[in-house]
Amino acid sequence: MKHFVVRPRSAAGWGLLLLFLGLIGMGLWPVVAGVNRARLAFGLPWLALWAYAIVAGCWLAMLVGNRWLARRAGGDD
């Protein structure tokens, strides 16, 4: 058989992959260094707020992914 590395086969698939990778990048250096300040926002330290922004981002990204999969299953994509 011809061997391969699995990768997205549509623009929406690539978009979702980049969204996931972007979210992962948000939690790592060097991005985290940018919010590493002893400041508060909404009563929380910047880093804590950033962590929960990533949590919300992951949740929203998967919601988008589900919607895309549902549309693809319905033949719209």
Binding site: F4, L28, M62
Partner: protein
Amino acid sequence: MIELATRSLMPLWITLGYVAVALVIGLRARRGRVMDSLEEWGVAGRSMGGVTLYLLIAAGSISAYTFMGAPGWAYSKGVAVFYVVIYLSYLALVAWYCGPRVWEFGRRFGHVTQGAAIADRYQSPLLGGLAALVMSIGSLAYAVLQTMGSAYILAVMSGGRIPVWAGVILILAAMALYLYVSGQHAIGLTNAFQGVLMLVVAWSVGLWSAHTASGELGFGAIFARLQAERPDFLTLPGAGGDMSFAFWTTSIIVSMLSFMPPVWSQWMSARSADTIRRSATWLPTYYIVVLPMVVVGFIGILALPQLERADTVALSYALGHLPVWLVGLLGAGTLAAAMSSCEPFLHSVAMAYARDIAQPLWRLSDSATARLARRLLIPIMALIVAPVAISEPSNLVMILLVGLGFATQVLPAFIGMFVWTRASTPGVIAGIVAGFCVTLAFTLIWRNPLGVHAGFWGLLVNLPLFVGVSLLTRPVRDDVVERFFAISAPGRSRA
């Protein structure tokens, strides 16, 4: 040695009441089903709905660490503790992508354990058994730590009346009973109960503590005071100076790539692939449970500056400042966290020993393997977990770190299932062995060189070796690879 204690018996009764409720829920979870197959006892007949699965995975990932260790980290290091919330959310992304594929592997090929899937993909029962055996080291160390945490909580809540050895026996006996009777069904329903309890307890304790400490029903005043008096707790590398950007980043990557066996069983217990996707989608929302307990740790920085053990900060603050009923609820919540993450590990070790090691070794039938898995629970608890937990070994955390380090080194086996068709058996073995040796050396001898997590160093050696050896050796049979990638990459497997 228990330094903390409560005089009132109410916290003990609340904590024991929780154990009794968990026991009843676990025993009733069987609901007349016949538990004579691994399909039923091991993966709940692949029947779990979205809400149960959400709480099963969520509660399983929240251990006693959230109620004791995480406040301790906040107390000793500061905001560095939030790396946990981030990697747990990334694990949800992994579950969203890999979970439905694992479920489909299980449904089509009859896998009930992670080792069985590895053995099948690489046509090597040896590799499946080896992975199961070594994964069990980390799993058992984890289960022992959670059992020790449970016994400690019981000792504190009883004011020392229940010694650690008795607490260990009590907790293991309760889990053994419902795990033996109801298997994965018990884990599903008890975790659902424990998951809700933990959420309620964490927010009640967090908000009450914040109100006691600052007079406000929010966390802003606490952090404002810390910003003024101890700003080093609000940034990396933290007050201890030991959470560098390198360690933060590599810890998240290593934790995100650890495919622990119980998680595999949880995915295979779902009713459908879509159920896993929906549960994984909402999983990050559960991790708000971490925030209030972490805040208690931050309160402790100013209120309890002289604590000897950082991981007792939440209990110490509760005993000194909260009403006894809330102390009891904290005991129940902490016990729930410990049990909800301990029981899936014990269950998966029993399954792995029976299915991935004993069955291929002695050519057991499926029904004999299922009986063996259930019966193995008792010796695993009585001969391994209980004696080790009672002896409270000082090097257990090290065993756990090595075990979890290995879990990440099995990554090539999963790359060959989900991403790369060319992965070969010798390539996977070479990567795992090399990665494990490096992780072991950088955990025991030269700890985390250059501030980089030992498991990450392991991956830096593991992955290139895996790719190189795979390209130089014979790939797995085409029909096997096509079978797996018809699921992992539909429409591409014959490209």
